[in-house]
Symmetry: C2
């Protein structure tokens, strides 16, 4: 079967031919429909994040997938069911994080991530998965169900952020997403769809006209150009923000977030920056956190319950939003084009099959 992989020593994705996987007991065989590409895939291809499966000479890419059960193989699924796989798998049996459905909280070494680190991904004609790592999705998810994975990451971040503010009566009104890439826009759409926030903002650095800015404004949110209004200036230019969601991987944002937060606010960090040192107004950051009860938390990955929440969230997104978000659908053979970036590219996807 076809698989999109990166070979050891190379930094471009290629179509290779690999044997179709055979499901083990407890695993279903899934025929892949679509696999989305995100920043992590670019990092895996470039070799700056993740790692090959042990001993493998290639890594099959892809962790945002939707497919159809081809062979249920005794699992709870029926042939023809639409499913989305989760990303993490345990490195050994008896891993408590996985047993209690908290793979997202497992520490380094206790997991592999399909398509990212230590395990092959879903960018192939078929994949297998244990049924507990498959989430059933509605039939109309064939074209965009792969978005369940990124949305589930934000569901988790929201859950943790709200938990961090649960010891008092928190009534947030404003939200700011840092980054207008696909994860930023998905998260902005989630925030706009919640009743909590009267005012939503999205920070980026693109020139108009740009499709991401059009989406931001059509969602009813305010675009903040960070070249004109850097993050620390947001309170003066707009307002102090109750909830900030960072999806840029730009390390200074983690620190500047503190000042941009309103009293009692929380910042959720999801970007993964490389090593970088810089000066911060450390006394002020520390003092503002204390005197204004501010919180910062990092969040990675997601669990099955958060996938289920994402399934509901995604069902409520307007059709136009998903149409505008997916800017390119490519055959596996066109994968290099699917990895091209540009001002008009938001979310691209590799399509192996249709329903």
């Amino acid at each position: 079967m076809r698989a999109v992989a990166v070979r050891r020593g190379e930094t471009t994705p290629k179509v290779i031919d690999v044997p179709r996987p055979t499901p083990e007991s407890g695993e279903a065989l899934v025929r892949t429909l679509r696999v989305g590409i995100d920043g992590t895939d670019h990092e895996v291809v470039g070799g700056t994040h993740g790692g090959f499966p042990d001993g493998a000479e290639h890594q099959i890419l892809g962790h945002e997938a939707v497919g159809i059960v081809e062979n249920p193989n005794g699992t709870r699924f029926d042939a023809g069911d639409l499913v989305v796989p989760t990303v993490r798998r345990p490195t050994e049996d008896g891993n408590g994080y996985f047993e209690r459905d908290e793979p997202d909280m497992a520490p380094d070494g206790a997991y592999v991530e399909r398509g990212i680190v230590g395990a092959h991904g879903y960018m192939a004609d078929y994949f297998t998965s244990y049924e507990r790592y498959l989430v059933g999705v509605p039939d109309d998810f064939a074209t965009h169900g792969f978005l369940t994975e990124p949305v589930s990451n934000s569901e988790k971040a929201f859950e943790h952020a709200y938990a961090s503010r649960s010891a008092f009566e928190w009534s947030p009104e404003s939200a700011l997403v840092l980054g207008n890439g696909p994860l930023g826009l998905l998260t902005l759409s989630m925030l706009v769809g919640r009743d909590d926030f009267d005012r939503c903002y999205c920070l980026g650095r693109r020139d108009r006209p740009n499709p991401t800015i059009e989406i931001i404004e059509r969602l009813g949110a305010t675009y903040v150009d960070s070249r004109e209004t850097p993050l620390p200036d947001v309170p003066d230019a707009h307002e102090s923000i109750d909830f900030i969601y960072e999806a840029t991987g730009h390390a200074p944002h983690a620190f500047e977030t503190v000042h941009a937060l309103a009293p009692n606010g929380v910042g959720a960090l999801l970007g993964i920056p490389g090593d970088e040192s810089f000066e911060v107004e450390g006394g002020r950051i520390h003092r503002e956190m204390v005197l204004e009860n501010k919180a910062l938390l990092g969040s990675v990955n997601s669990n099955v319950e958060q996938y289920k929440a994402a399934r509901e969230t995604l069902s409520a997104f307007p059709d136009w939003f998903i149409d505008e978000l997916i800017t390119g659908v490519y055959d596996p053979e066109e994968v290099e084009r699917a990895f091209e970036t540009g001002d008009d590219v938001i979310k691209t996807v590799v399509e192996f099959d249709t329903v």
Copy 2:
């Protein structure tokens, strides 16, 4: 009556003579027993934190108090009841934070703090307080009930820290207190008294022999000398820590805490540093927060429920701990000595009266 105050333009506390306050409707009159001194009092005296009441030429100090109800004045208390006052008062009626008993979450401008900013404190023969800001304490609290206030601040910080980890199954085993001043030692004693932590550490920079190190070790905790083992080295020298409580006001600690935390750990910041800029390994801090689900939160002040929790906590402290912690009891006329610091000084208190 006698009051210990700092006069405008001066930086030493003095005994002055002021009229005995008359309780308004809803207020009780309280005869002061003891008022503790902490780092904030030193900052108020030095002029680096807080501020005088509007138009006042002096500020009466003190926010950690215990006293006896002299005149209940129609409140729920009886004459002779032992009480501890809270610190914050609203700047205007109809303040929702105070109405729902969350004064600790009120933003700057919505509150004054007795003895700290905008209101006179409790370091006087008598004080008055609305009954909702008085917490009844047991009769045996006459000598150490003033510790209810600092302990309540840590109760709040614990509550918020645990809330921030409530979206998953958090099973902390290790705790580290940064700072071996009175708040650090009180907090260490609280942590040791909880079932959650198998191993507790306290970081300071004093030479042996020192009474704080003796207390740390008698509590069964491990003293970490930050001159030999700086905070970032704690994971290698000891272990990564599940819960870190910062009570140093040393701004680099806020950032170094991230690396010292174990995966899924949380750091509570309570110190109040001045302005200071420095270089941080920002990329690494940001990345570790995300990939290891770490949280940092600031915490200030406390509410009545947290005072009540502190009352229970304080009742469970061993007598020897409180005896060793209180290193000096001074008459109001000796207040300058009560403000002296030194390696053998832990917690000093001004005593206005005894039961």
